[in-house]
């Protein structure tokens, strides 16, 4: 077998050194009654067979390279530059563990340091970690961190209904063992003023998403006002943000956020059916020591040369155990590397350009779609790359038609999460959607109505 190099001769020699006759003798501590159970798995495959089987499985999917796609809702189809795959495909990166031994891990460590710098630049925060499992868990940990920043005294969290529904579900899973109240979102509160009103002396933080789940942008001035109220009440402002949008819009640091986190998949990650993604996370210095996860710091070696190490690990589970700020250990380091390469490739002007392309194309689509009879925009609020579109019939029906007749993957059906949003599609348009694709969607929808 190609993965086990031990030859028969090796095995015999090794058993001799160990002082046993057979490998079986090494398992004497395993209760005999349950030792060597029958394990029924399909026949093992050779490498060509495995490759073929897996390719065939993959081909049972409709892949989005072959279907214009208007789905977003937290997972985005952005362009991934070729260099990203080439860098993260270097085995020195992907076959290393967490860089516990810095002298032979400077590659990973320096890149995380650079990643932290870029995340700070993007968010306007002072410190970033690398990393959380995804945008949802990053947000849940932000909330736990906010509670812990009050030394556990404040146990109420005000969360906007504009936060991604699955993120809100994860927040509830994470807090089910703790005595924390999550308020606001279930009553549909998402308006900044209304959120501000809910802040009281028991509030640990207010959580908003910007752009929100529906794609709408909140103005920096309104958010600044919210931050002021929140801070006056001794609470924290947590902002979950699409990092691509941050290429264009004001960084949360500008309007007073204390913690900024979100889903980093759009930064060089594939869609991959939902994972592995990347929870990015950053905060102001004040709360640094409450932040979870790996943090890299700059230092010097014995000769005074610059080098990088994991630092502030006194926060982490392997040191603080039950008193740790989080249980996170393995994280999404390789995705953080991809994000670093992505941000390097695009840089200052490129990320802005991608954000602008999304903005312009989404607005073009919104204009054209809302001009169709029976279709209209849910509101006139400013949006980034997604917008809710009122449709003349159930979204599930439309999407079925789009897929079957036009090979188009339509937008997200908002009724799944918001019962009052029947017949409303969350349309997502990125730089990957060409004008022709958008026009095709318009043509498909109008021909559906004609056919109806």
């Amino acid at each position: 077998m190609s993965y086990i190099p031990t030859t028969d001769a090796d095995r015999a020699a090794m058993l001799r050194v160990i002082g046993v006759e057979t490998v079986e003798e090494l398992f004497g501590d395993v209760p005999e009654a349950v030792r060597y159970p029958e394990v029924k798995l399909p026949r093992r495959l050779s490498e060509p067979e495995a490759l073929r089987e897996l390719r065939e499985i993959s081909e049972y999917n409709v892949d989005l390279d072959h279907a214009p796609c208007f789905l977003g809702a937290g997972a985005y189809r952005h362009f991934v530059p070729s260099v990203v795959g080439h860098v993260i495909g270097r085995s020195e990166f992907y076959t290393a563990y967490t860089p516990y031994q810095p002298e032979i891990s400077q590659g990973t460590l320096q890149i995380i340091f650079e990643y932290q710098s870029m995340i700070c630049a993007l968010t306007g925060m002072d410190a970033a970690n690398a990393s959380h499992y995804d945008g949802a868990t990053a947000l849940a940990e932000a909330l736990v961190m906010a509670v812990s920043a009050s030394r556990g005294k404040r146990r109420k969290v005000v969360m906007s209904a504009g936060v991604h529904p699955e993120y809100r579900a994860v927040v509830r899973t994470y807090t089910q063992g703790a005595e924390i109240t999550v308020a606001g979102d279930q009553d549909g509160v998402s308006e900044v003023g209304a959120l501000a009103e809910m802040v009281d002396a028991d509030a640990a933080c207010v959580i908003v998403q910007n752009p929100d789940f529906l794609g709408y942008l909140e103005s920096p001035s309104a958010l600044r006002a919210l931050a002021d109220t929140v801070h006056a009440a001794g609470a924290l402002l947590v902002v979950s943000a699409d990092p691509i949008a941050l290429g264009l819009i004001a960084p949360p640091g500008d309007y007073g956020a204390d913690i900024v986190c979100g889903e980093g998949q759009a930064l060089g990650g594939g869609l991959s059916f939902g994972g592995p993604y990347l929870g990015y996370f950053a905060c102001v210095t004040k709360y640094l020591h409450k932040m979870a996860g790996r943090i890299v710091g700059q230092t010097v070696d014995r000769h005074g040369d610059r080098g990088f190490v994991l630092t502030l690990s006194a926060r982490e589970q392997h040191i603080r155990r039950e008193k740790a700020s989080s249980n996170i250990c393995s994280n999404e380091a390789l995705m953080a590397l991809a994000a670093a390469v992505y941000m390097t490739a695009l840089g200052k002007s490129g990320l802005r350009k991608v954000a602008e392309l999304c903005y312009h194309k989404a607005h073009y689509a919104a204009n054209r779609l809302s001009a169709l009879p029976g279709y209209e925009l849910l509101s006139e609020r400013p949006f980034f790359k997604e917008f809710p579109l009122r449709c003349p019939r159930p979204v599930s029906e439309i999407n079925e038609y789009l897929l079957d007749e036009w090979g188009i993957v339509g937008g997200y059906d908002l009724e799944r999460n918001y019962p009052h949003m029947a017949n409303t599609m969350l349309v997502c348009v990125t730089e990957m959607n060409s004008k022709e694709e958008i026009d095709l969607l318009v043509e498909a929808l109008s021909s559906m109505e004609e056919g109806a």
């Binding site: 501590d29 495995a50 999917n61 020195e92 650079e114 700070c120 995804d134 063992g177």
Partner: protein
């Protein structure tokens, strides 16, 4: 040659990728929403590639050499896994696509659930958790939900052996339980006396790692399970060490009620410099309804909406469903699918026979190394080990030398050091896990190096305390780094 920071090679106007022009009419930007500046680096494609290529060469990885990092199962991961994970049919699928358009993905997840069930003996598996610790949180929350579902609200304590990994108590805290430490006995097992002393009706359960972090199979595991169950608790299994026992014993048959798998350890997905991993949880029948979701189920086509086409010729199709009394979602979407892909491939390539061979050779290799080293390094628990073992770095005749020095000196021989200073119950611990993918030649070279280092420790201790000597940087000042943290390089 040191590599500058990417910000240090940045120059205004450069870019690393050619982006498309706008092909639609531009919409007016909402000026008051916009940011003023963005401090990202600006480099050309060649400079980008050189930067990251050079940085990569500063890393040690499994593909460069031996990486016996105890508890981390740094086995070699077949390259075919990487190719599979890049198949466009998998990569370019959105988590919210209609299920009939992702039957390939769901088929794969369903069968991976089934494989893991068969390997572990559990009744159901959820692929939701993104890592081992995430699986632990899921498991403890499930235990909590189970007790609550029975109206049993007194249970607030989780028993955890002193040898346990830090994530166990940390997960316990996150789930709102109190951690009670149980000591180990002289043979490295859980002390049954201490356990007995803590078993009462406030016990929600126990988190047990078996083989434990000393690399030892607990000789009383069946008794422990019985005792926990008798006091009404549930037994959580930290499956990080599953690599020792595949095909040898099914954890469910040892009495575990719920357990996480570390796909990135046992099932051969590379660690990526810290992640991504995947930490599916398996549960016995009584806990299965509480699993995090969604999980993949197989349904007859006529049970689902008519529009769904059957992937399976016999009229079945795969669907994502929430378990009956699920603790809920642990992350957005459905787990780390890309990691699951690699685990599926690995299991298909090995089959039941291959998985048993994996465990047998993991244990063989560890015992061989143990026997080559135990006369040179103190071995606190002198028993047949499983897939790993723990030595002590307190070398006789070398008082000034510490485990950290031995670890750093190993780098000069081209080896990654073992895990150090863990488990906490062994002073100056050196935790060595060779894995099954290493050859006898590699094990011998490693043993020879450690033996030479032990000699150096007595004869020339400074060689160790100033090590490493041939690495890209010399020993780094970690204390200084924490004292005055420099966490980014932005000027502002």
């Amino acid at each position: 040659m040191k590599e500058p920071l990417v910000y240090e090679i940045s120059s205004p106007g450069r870019i690393g990728v050619n982006l498309p022009e706008c092909d639609v009419e531009e919409a007016p930007l909402p000026q008051e929403f916009l940011r003023k500046h963005l401090a990202l680096p600006e480099v050309s494609e060649v400079d980008l590639i050189r930067h990251y290529t050079r940085l990569s060469q500063l890393n040690h990885g499994v593909d460069k050499g031996f990486y016996p990092l105890g508890s981390c199962t740094m086995k070699y991961n077949p390259k075919v896994n990487e190719d599979v994970a890049r198949l466009p049919g998998f990569v370019h699928t959105h988590p919210y696509q209609a299920s009939r358009t992702v039957q390939g993905n769901l088929f794969l997840m369903y069968h991976l659930q089934e494989f893991l069930k068969e390997i572990s003996g559990f009744s159901a598996v959820s692929l939701q958790p993104a890592a081992g610790a995430h699986g632990e949180l899921a498991g403890v929350l499930m235990i909590r939900a189970y007790h609550e579902s029975r109206g049993d609200h007194r249970r607030t304590r989780m028993l955890i052996p002193d040898s346990a990994h830090g994530t166990n108590p940390a997960s316990t805290t996150m789930a709102g339980y109190e951690t009670i430490k149980i000591v180990s006995d002289a043979r490295g097992n859980v002390s049954l006396d201490d356990l007995h002393a803590h078993c009462d009706d406030t016990v929600a359960g126990m988190m047990l790692t078996n083989p434990n972090t000393l690399g030892l199979f607990d000789e009383y595991v069946l008794d422990i399970a019985r005792m926990i169950h008798e006091c009404g608790g549930l037994l959580y299994g930290d499956g990080a060490n599953l690599n020792a026992i595949m095909g040898i014993v099914k954890p469910e048959q040892l009495g575990f009620d719920v357990m996480h798998f570390n796909l990135h350890k046992t099932f051969s997905t590379p660690h990526g410099g810290g992640g991504p991993g995947a930490g599916p949880v398996g549960a016995s029948e009584n806990l299965a309804p509480f699993l995090p979701g969604p999980i993949v189920v197989i349904e007859r086509v006529d049970e689902v909406s008519e529009a769904d086409e059957a992937w399976d010729e016999e009229g079945y199709c795969y669907q994502l469903r929430m378990p009956e009394s699920s603790i809920g979602r642990l992350k957005a979407f459905y787990g780390n699918f890309g990691v699951c892909l690699k685990a599926y491939t690995y299991i298909r390539m090995l089959g039941a026979t291959g998985l048993r061979q994996v465990s047998e050779h993991a244990v063989l290799n560890a015992n061989y190394l143990l026997n080559r080293l135990k006369d040179v390094y103190p071995l606190p628990y002198d028993r047949t080990c499983m897939h790993e073992f723990v030595l002590s770095g307190t070398l006789p005749g070398a008082p000034g030398v510490h485990t950290v020095d031995i670890a750093k000196r190993l780098m000069d021989f081209g080896f990654h050091p073992p895990t150090v200073y863990f488990p906490l119950i062994v002073p100056e611990a050196l935790m060595i896990e060779p894995t099954e993918t290493e050859s006898k030649e590699t094990l011998d070279a490693f043993a020879d190096a450690l033996i030479q280092i032990a000699r150096e420790a007595r004869e020339d201790p400074e060689l160790l305390t100033t090590a490493p000597h041939v690495t890209p940087v010399a020993r780094l000042d970690e204390v200084g780094a924490a004292r005055t943290p420099v966490l980014h390089c932005l000027k502002d």
